[in-house]
């Protein structure tokens, strides 16, 4: 096999014999300096604007949530909202009325205490002669 025949076969991309392939491997190994030169070529870095434009395109290409998905999540949210509203409607008034009951009971006790105190003061005043019993009646009728 002459060198020229081999080169012709390589150039015409004709399948090579084992011996010719070995020669090709050797030639490739001897070209390593070219490889290092090509490997050292700088790689470009795309700009942020390019990346941002690509992101927009990708978002457009991404499938939109289907109607079924909206229904699924929408109904879930609706059920959740209803449950919260019911809980609010049932539990909050109960606790409110309990609070009111406690407040009115406290008010009643205070009123009773005041009345009792007033009565005791009036009785003491009559006993001590500061006030007449009829005056008390008049005062109370006023």
């Amino acid at each position: 096999m002459s060198q020229q025949d081999w080169i012709n076969k390589v150039m015409t991309e004709t399948p090579l014999t084992a011996e010719e392939t070995l020669l090709l491997e050797q030639e490739l190994a001897s070209q390593e300096d070219v490889r290092s030169l090509v490997a050292a070529l700088p790689q470009p870095e795309p700009s942020m604007a390019w990346r941002s434009a690509l992101n927009e395109e990708l978002m457009k290409a991404a499938p939109k949530p289907s109607r079924k998905t909206w229904l699924y999540w929408g109904s879930g949210a609706l059920v959740g909202g209803l449950a919260c509203w019911l809980a609010f409607a049932v539990l909050i008034p109960a606790s409110l009325s309990q609070g009111l009951r406690e407040t009115s009971q406290a008010n009643n006790e205070a009123l009773a205490q005041d009345l009792l105190q007033g009565h005791e003061n009036d009785s003491s005043a009559v006993l001590m002669g500061i006030a007449a019993p009829d005056l008390m009646v008049l005062n109370s009728s006023d």
Binding site: T21, L37, V38, A39, P42, E45, R51
Partner: protein, 199 residues
Amino acid sequence: MEPGDRQNLVADQALVDRAKRKDVEAFGKIVDAYQSRVLGFVRRMVLNEDEALDVTQEVFIKAFRAVDRFDGRCSLRTWLFRIAHNLCIDRARKVSRSAHVSQISLVVEEDEEREVADMRFDPASALLQRELSQVLEESLAAMSEKLRIVLILHDQEDMSYEEIATTVDIPVGTVKSRLFLARAFLQNRLKGYFYGANS
């Protein structure tokens, strides 16, 4: 396979699984990991900065739409580069290459402006590196597409012969032949540059 590569594959697979459920955030991480490499490949294939940016964007959008059909028989990188390769071929059919060759030097200059830090420490070597990069980029642009694809995927992307064969859809033997011819082409072009630099 290196342990790091295996970890990358596992991480890729986890992201792909999420992306298959159309998780834009997970797919965004895939974009972050590969955008620079895909853009580098595409830019050297379409030879025009703006077009390269458009095609790269198209690569990722197409990948996002088709990710549920990614079956994991090849790596994510191979799959992405396959999409990129197909789109570049489609674009090349539409656009005549000669109209864009004059823009290569501009693209290279823009890139090299980012290497300001190197210039500060060793301006002479940075200048040489810049010049060499320019000659390399021009040589790559002058090369036939079928040789360029193999050269970039092997020498820059560090893909195996088998991965390139899958990406470009050619036999492994053809990958080797094309790689040899591509490197020989570059050697020939660079010979002139180095002789000129020494004289």
